[in-house]
C-alpha cells in the first residue's frame, strides 16, 4: 500500500524557476525509501514538502490517501531528523525528548514510560539531564532520533542525518538505523547524496536529478539495470564504465541506435569467459589494493576504464588483455536512455 503519494507535484520558490516539476512518486508503507541525488537536485525540498515545512506549489500530496494541503506539520503523524540535529540547545536531553509529547498532551506517566524506553534504545539514559552542548556529535544525533522515535510516528523523515558524523560513527549509526527500521516497521524516507549509504540502507531508492526522478527501484534493480547513463554513472564505486559507441570498432556489433556502451568494473575480466565476449587491450595505469578486491584503472584505445578484480595470486601489470561478456553490456541511445529491445537479439 502507498503511504505517501505525490501526484504531479511541483515547487517554485520564484516564478518561472521550477525546482521540482510534475513529480510523481509513491512511497510504500513500511519501506525504507531513499531520496538520492547530487546536491541541489531537490531532495530536501521534496522531503520538506512531505513534512509540510514547504508549501506544495502544484499537484497533490497525500499521506494515507488524505490530501495534506491544509494539514499542519505537527498534525501529519510524522517525525523528522535534521542534518544539523536541530535539538533545542536550552533544554536538557529529557526536555528535548519530552517537548513533543507535552505539546501532544500525553499524560505524565505515559511520557515518563516512553522516555525511559527510548533512552534505553538510544543509549541516552545516563545523559538525560545534560544540555546538548555537553554531548558529542553522535550523542546529539541520537537525541534527535530519540525525539523523533518517542512520538511513535507513522513516518520518519530524515535529511542527511549522518553527514555531520565521522566515518566510523556513520557506519555504526547506519546499521542501527537499519535495525531500527526493522523493529519499528514504520515508513522511513531518507535523503542522502551518498550512494553507498543509499544502497546499504534502502529497501527502495529514488534517484533524482534536477527535480526529476531518473529511476526508482530496489537497490538491486538500480544497480543491475540502470535506465540511463546518469543512473549508471551515479551508482556504484567505482561507477559503470561508459564508452562512446562511435569510438568502438565495428566488430563489437553494437546496435545501430546505441550511442553509449556501459559495463560494470566487476564485469571486466582478465581471462576469456565461456560466454560470447568482446576482447580488448589495455594498459594498467594504477592499481589500488583494497583488501578483498583490487581496483585497476586502465587506458584503452576507446577510453579509460576501471576494473575490479578479486585479490588473487595473479598481479596484473603493464599491457593486458581484457574481455567483456556481451550479455553484461548496457546500451544507451543519443538521449542517454537505455536501449532494451536489443537485449534479446544479442
Amino acid at each position: 500500500m502507498k503511504k505517501i503519494e505525490l501526484e504531479q507535484v511541483s515547487k517554485f520558490y520564484e516564478k518561472d524557476v521550477p525546482i521540482i516539476e510534475d513529480l510523481d512518486l509513491g512511497i510504500e508503507e513500511g519501506s525504507f525509501t531513499i531520496l538520492l541525488g547530487p546536491s541541489g537536485c531537490g531532495k530536501s525540498t521534496t522531503l520538506r514538502m512531505i513534512a509540510g515545512l514547504e508549501e506544495v506549489s502544484g499537484g497533490t500530496l497525500k499521506i494515507d490517501g488524505r490530501d495534506m494541503k491544509n494539514v499542519q506539520p505537527g498534525d501529519r503523524d510524522i517525525a523528522m531528523v535534521f542534518q544539523n540535529y536541530a535539538i533545542y540547545p536550552t533544554m536538557t536531553v529529557r526536555e528535548n525528548i519530552e517537548f513533543g509529547l507535552k505539546n501532544a498532551k500525553i499524560p505524565k506517566a505515559e511520557r515518563r514510560k516512553r522516555i525511559e524506553e527510548i533512552g534505553g534504545i538510544t543509549g541516552l539514559t545516563e545523559y538525560m539531564n545534560r544540555k546538548p552542548n555537553a554531548l558529542s556529535g553522535g550523542q546529539r544525533q541520537r537525541v534527535a532520533l530519540a525525539r523523533a522515535m518517542v512520538k511513535n510516528p507513522q513516518v520518519f523523515l530524515m535529511d542527511e542525518p549522518l553527514s555531520n558524523l565521522d566515518a566510523k560513527l556513520r557506519t555504526q549509526l547506519r546499521t542501527e538505523l537499519i535495525e531500527l527500521h526493522q523493529k519499528l516497521k514504520s515508513t522511513f524516507v531518507y535523503v542522502t547524496h551518498d550512494q553507498v549509504e543509499a544502497m546499504s540502507m534502502g529497501t527502495h531508492i529514488v534517484l533524482m536529478r534536477d527535480g526529476k526522478v531518473m529511476q526508482q527501484g530496489t537497490p538491486e534493480e538500480i544497480y543491475d539495470d540502470p535506465d540511463n547513463v546518469f543512473t549508471a554513472k551515479f551508482i556504484g564505486t567505482p561507477p559503470m564504465n561508459v564508452f562512446r559507441a562511435e569510438a568502438c570498432p565495428k566488430s563489437w556489433k553494437i546496435p545501430e541506435q546505441a550511442h553509449y556502451i556501459g559495463f560494470r568494473p566487476e564485469h571486466v575480466r582478465f581471462f576469456r569467459p565461456e560466454t560470447e565476449s568482446i576482447e580488448l587491450e589495455g594498459r594498467i595505469i594504477t592499481r589500488e589494493m583494497l583488501g578483498a578486491e583490487i581496483l585497476y584503472k586502465l587506458d584503452t584505445p576507446y577510453g579509460f576504464l576501471q576494473a575490479r578484480d578479486y585479490h588473487t595470486a595473479d598481479k596484473h601489470e603493464g599491457n593486458v588483455r581484457l574481455w567483456l561478456s556481451r550479455g553484461e553490456l548496457c546500451f544507451f541511445d543519443s538521449q542517454e536512455n537505455r536501449i532494451r529491445s536489443h537485449m534479446e537479439e544479442y
Binding site: 533545542y88 536550552t90 513533543g100 505539546n103
Partner: protein
C-alpha cells in the same frame, strides 16, 4: 617604539574614559555625604573627612519615600511586562515571517527611535487625558509599553536562530507562542537580559514622562519625588537630593551585577565588544 607609543595613548584614552564616567558618579556620592556648608563651599572640596551618613535618613524621611518607591516599582514592572508582550511577537514576526509591507513597517519602527519624546508628549498627553488615564499607572506605563530599539535588537538575535529549530518545534506540535517563549527567547537570553536592563534603567530613572503625564503625587515615581528633596533646607539641599539619588541607584547596581554576565555575552556575541 611605535608600539609603546600606541599602547600609552590607548592607556591614556582609557583613563580619560574612566574619568569621564567615574567623576560625576564620585561627585554625586561625595555630595551625598557632605554637610550643607561643604556643598556650598568655594572652591569645592573633593574629599570629606566627616561623612554625613544621616543625609540618607533625612532623604528617606523628608518625603514619602515608600510611596514613590511603590509607584516606581509598579510602573517599572508594568513597563517591563508590557515590553515583553509587545516586543517579542513583533521581533519574531519581523525576523521570521514574510508579509506584504514588512519592509515599510520595519522602517517605520526604526524611524520612531529618531523622534524625540519632547515632540510627542503633547499628543500623548491629550490622548491619555481623553481616555481619562492621566494620574493612573497606565499613563506612566503606556507611553513606554514598547521599544523600537528593543524590537530591532531582538529581531537581530532571532534571525540568528537556525530555522531548523523552529521547524523541529513545529513538527513537535508547538504553537507560535511556545516557539517564541520556550525556544527563541531562552536562546537569546543575553539580548533579553541586556534589553531588560536598559529598559529597567530607562524606566526607573525616567523623569520626563513621569513629570509630564502626572499632575498629582498619587502615581508619581521616585525621580520626580526626589526633586522635592531640594527644598529641605530652604531650596539648596543638594546633598540630600544626592543622597536620595544614591538610594534610588541601588536597585540598578544590583540589577547590573545580576545581569552583567549575560550582557557581556551579548556584546561579545554581536561583536560590539
Amino acid at each position: 617604539m611605535k608600539k609603546i607609543a600606541g599602547k600609552s595613548i590607548r592607556g591614556m584614552v582609557n583613563i580619560l574614559l574612566i574619568l569621564i564616567f567615574f567623576v560625576p558618579f564620585y561627585w554625586m556620592a561625595l555630595t551625598a555625604i557632605k554637610t550643607l556648608g561643604q556643598t556650598l563651599q568655594s572652591p569645592p572640596v573633593f574629599w570629606v573627612s566627616n561623612p554625613q551618613f544621616e543625609n540618607f535618613i533625612s532623604a528617606f524621611h523628608a518625603i514619602d519615600f515608600m510611596h514613590y518607591l511603590k509607584n516606581s516599582v509598579i510602573t517599572t514592572i508594568g513597563v517591563l511586562a508590557a515590553q515583553l508582550i509587545t516586543i517579542v511577537p513583533a521581533a519574531y514576526a519581523f525576523a521570521r515571517y514574510d508579509f506584504k509591507g514588512k519592509g515599510v513597517l520595519f522602517g517605520m519602527v526604526l524611524a520612531t527611535t529618531m523622534i524625540p519624546a519632547q515632540l510627542v508628549f503633547l499628543p500623548v498627553f491629550l490622548i491619555l487625558s481623553k481616555l481619562h488615564l492621566i494620574n493612573t499607572y497606565w499613563s506612566l506605563i503606556l507611553p513606554q509599553a514598547t521599544s523600537a530599539f528593543g524590537i530591532f535588537m531582538l529581531r537581530q538575535s532571532f534571525m540568528q536562530v537556525p530555522k531548523e529549530l523552529i521547524e523541529a518545534a513545529r513538527l513537535d506540535k508547538a504553537g507560535e507562542l511556545k516557539i517564541m517563549f520556550r525556544i527563541m527567547l531562552p536562546m537569546c537570553r543575553s539580548t533579553v537580559a541586556t534589553l531588560a536592563l536598559l529598559s529597567f534603567i530607562g524606566c526607573w530613572n525616567d523623569y520626563f514622562w513621569a513629570k509630564v503625564l502626572t499632575t498629582s503625587d498619587a502615581v508619581r515615581t521616585l525621580p520626580v519625588g526626589i526633586t522635592a528633596l531640594r527644598n529641605v533646607d530652604g531650596g539648596v539641599a543638594n546633598h540630600i537630593v544626592m543622597a536620595g539619588n544614591l538610594i534610588m541607584l541601588v536597585p540598578i547596581l544590583v540589577a547590573f551585577v545580576i545581569a552583567q554576565k549575560q550582557i557581556l555575552k551579548a556584546f561579545a556575541y554581536t561583536g560590539v565588544k
